[in-house]
């Protein structure tokens, strides 16, 4: 996983609540067996005026000029500002893969759906939760000033605006540590291999029917 330290970047506003993972990356693109290449199809149904197909050359497709990510002032954005319950719906990890592949490193919203939240952190995508009123203000500021950038400092859990205003955010210690260090979860868990084996042995003794070789004996 990529390390996340600090991102100072252009902010793009997606003013919409309950953005679901079908909207982030439609199902026809889930047929890929890779983890990369989803960025061109991020928000496909909002971004283009036609129906996207896997493997197609997206540079030839008609784009929706009204969609925020197609506007000149938001090109190169690495921070997505959005509304409540972002990432609801399916468990597809293709959603954070697409956001990352497109170039986003941070998503800021009042709340996120649970499964998406997990998936994002496992891929080095930082999700920052701020209060509704703060989000309203950030939307107003982004829209008012072209080239609006934010500085997101994970180490100190702060978002800093161009005027120097600071918004602190919460993030759990373990996720923060993994993100800052770029740690591989599996490698970390396997350090507890002995504890897992010991648990497994007790578990099997207590409830052998949970193990198919015992249940079918």
């Amino acid at each position: 996983m990529n390390k996340f330290e600090r991102t100072e970047g252009l902010v793009a506003p997606l003013d919409r609540a309950n953005v679901d993972t079908d909207l982030i990356i439609p199902k026809q693109f889930l047929k890929s067996i890779k983890r990369t290449g989803f960025g061109v199809n991020l928000f496909d149904e909002l971004r283009y005026l036609d129906e996207g197909q896997p493997g197609q050359d997206c540079s030839q497709r008609p784009v929706n000029p009204d969609f925020v990510l197609n506007q000149a002032r938001y090109q190169g954005a690495s921070i997505l500002l959005t509304r409540r319950n972002f990432g609801c719906g399916s468990s597809r990890e293709h959603a954070p893969w697409a956001l990352e592949d497109f170039g986003f490193r941070v998503v800021i919203a009042p709340s996120f759906a649970d499964i998406f939240y997990n998936n994002a952190f496992k891929n080095g995508l930082l999700l920052v939760t701020l209060g509704e009123e703060t989000i309203d203000r950030l939307f107003a500021e982004v829209e008012a000033s072209e080239g609006y950038r934010l500085d997101v400092d994970l180490e100190n859990q702060r978002v800093i605006t161009p005027s120097g205003e600071i918004f602190e955010f919460e993030v759990d210690g373990f996720r923060k540590h993994c993100l800052l260090e770029g740690l591989d979860d599996i490698g970390l868990t396997l350090k507890d291999e002995d504890a897992i084996r010991a648990f497994e042995q007790r578990h099997r003794a207590a409830r052998p029917w949970l193990f198919r070789d015992s249940a079918q004996a």
């Binding site: 047929k31 319950n85 399916s90 468990s91 990890e93 997990n118 949970l210």
Partner: protein, 481 residues
């Protein structure tokens, strides 16, 4: 000290290790795998030179991509016309062979939607932890199993370590007391719950569904309710063990037998919340007030009763909600205050992990028997949840009832719930669907999904528009459009 909730018990029974920061390692008893969210996980194992921790904990079947027409299915994988879908299904087969995981392949009679197959086989048992790279894994909570959807990185993590990194959720109890009216089903109950608490109402919680109306549901009805917990934002939906649970599990292929069965049943009877358990949140619904539900918008919380109407965005609570309603009505092609019964349909889909089990098909067949699908309906399809459900339905003659009424009778798979195969809506088409999500584009680019119960979907197919299934016989049948 207060007693434990069912969720607390399941959590503590699987806790391997708890870190100081609140992150825990929990042991996973069962992982279900399908073709869409597993290829990158297997690839990760290969790249790191890792092997699955415990093969017998895993069970795989292709479901999302598989075609549902008999013609294509007759040829097995070779019949999958979409080359990208074919690669994905073939990759699952190859990975299961390479790593030694049991798979019900495309034309195995036991193949089907993972969330139908697991319980049907007894591969989902009370007291288990069950995961799958699919958010509707909440379904298995109907058996008092701690079950939830995970992402692909977590699929790989569980394959490699048999554990998951998790944080304990909060406890919510949703109590539905009283008797459901005739024609009101488990699907209507869960849609009414989502309508009440909202699509983020359960975020951060494990929801236990309780109350006499839940107890009165069959296991299949309970699976329908738990299946949609995620549509209320909760990864986990649970229902306590009772006789209904135990009766369902006897003699299932993966379930224990002989002496172990007795020991298991004795243990399972403890899988209920203690009477003095404290929930962080309690929500109550009166079963008698629930009428057949129909979703009108692009989020499952945008739902109302069949006697209701589409809301007026001008009356929404806040700006964000108002904009959401306005956008939803525009996408759905509906007007404020339009009557639900005035919504005309183009297609009807009966299937999905929410509603494709034998009881669902019986409910729909009861409505369709001796009637005809309205001429204005372009396609009405019934997609059984598994090969075994299909076989059972055919043994009962349900296939004939559907075919005579003008429905298409298909092969098992996820089908038009998410339209990864060839079954999809065209732009602007309205569909009465027994699935679980009405998101924009979910059932096809520009498609307009209305979530309903199997009986309501069948009734809509006959009438050509939404109609109260309790009064179908009083309604004039739609004339030619």
């Amino acid at each position: 000290m207060a007693g434990q909730t069912l969720y607390d018990k399941l959590w503590s029974q699987h806790l391997v290790k708890e870190r100081d920061d609140g992150t825990a390692l929990i042991y996973i008893d069962r992982q279900l795998l399908h073709e869409v969210t597993s290829p990158q996980a297997f690839e990760g194992l290969r790249l790191a030179g890792r092997k699955p921790w415990r093969l017998d904990a895993n069970l795989a079947t292709p479901d999302h991509n598989v075609p549902t027409t008999l013609k294509e299915r007759a040829e097995g994988n070779a019949g999958i016309k979409d080359p990208v879908s074919l690669i994905q299904v073939q990759t699952l087969d190859d990975n299961c062979v390479e790593f030694g995981i049991e798979e019900f392949k495309i034309n195995d009679p036991r193949q089907g939607i993972v969330h139908v197959v697991g319980p049907e086989q007894g591969a989902t048992l009370p007291g288990m932890t069950v995961v799958c790279g699919d958010s509707h894994t909440a379904t298995h909570g109907a058996f008092a199993a701690l079950a939830h959807g995970i992402g692909t990185s977590e699929v790989e993590h569980v394959l490699a370590t048999q554990c998951l990194l998790a944080q304990k959720m909060k406890n919510m109890q949703v109590r539905v007391e009283g008797k459901l009216g005739a024609g009101v089903t488990a699907k209507d109950v869960v849609l009414a719950i989502i309508g009440k608490i909202g699509t983020a109402g359960g975020t951060g919680y494990a929801i236990e569904f309780a109350g006499s109306a839940i107890r009165d549901l069959s296991m299949e009805g309970r699976m329908t309710v738990c299946n949609m917990a995620i549509e209320a934002g909760a990864r986990v939906g649970l229902i306590a063990v009772d006789e209904t649970t135990i009766d369902y599990l006897g003699n299932r292929p993966f379930a224990p037998s002989g002496e172990l069965w007795g020991a298991a049943v004795a243990d399972w009877r403890n899988l209920v919340s203690d009477s003095d358990a404290v929930f962080d949140k309690v929500v109550e619904l009166d079963a008698a007030e629930i009428e057949p539900q129909v979703s009108w918008g692009t989020s499952p919380e945008m739902v109302t009763g069949i006697s209701g109407e589409v809301p007026d965005p001008a009356e929404a609570g806040d700006d964000t909600v108002r904009r959401g309603y306005t956008r939803a009505l525009e996408y759905m092609g509906l007007k404020p205050r339009q009557k639900i019964t005035d919504i005309r349909l183009d297609k009807v889909f009966i299937g999905s992990c929410t509603n494709s089990r034998i009881e669902d098909l019986r409910e729909a067949a009861k409505v369709a028997r001796g009637k005809k699908v309205a001429d204005s309906i372009q396609l009405a399809m019934v997609v059984p949840g598994s090969g075994l459900v299909k076989r059972q339905a055919e043994a009962e003659g349900l296939d004939k009832i559907f075919i005579e009424a003008g429905f298409e009778w298909r092969e098992p798979g996820c089908s038009m719930c998410l339209a990864m195969n060839a079954d999809k809506l065209g732009a602007g088409e309205h569909c009465a669907s027994t699935s679980n999500r009405n998101f924009e584009g979910r059932q096809g680019y520009g498609g307009r999904t209305h979530l309903v119960s199997p009986a309501m979907a069948a009734a809509a197919a006959i009438a050509g528009h939404f109609v109260d299934v309790r009064r179908l016989d009083d309604q004039p049948v739609a004339e030619e459009a």
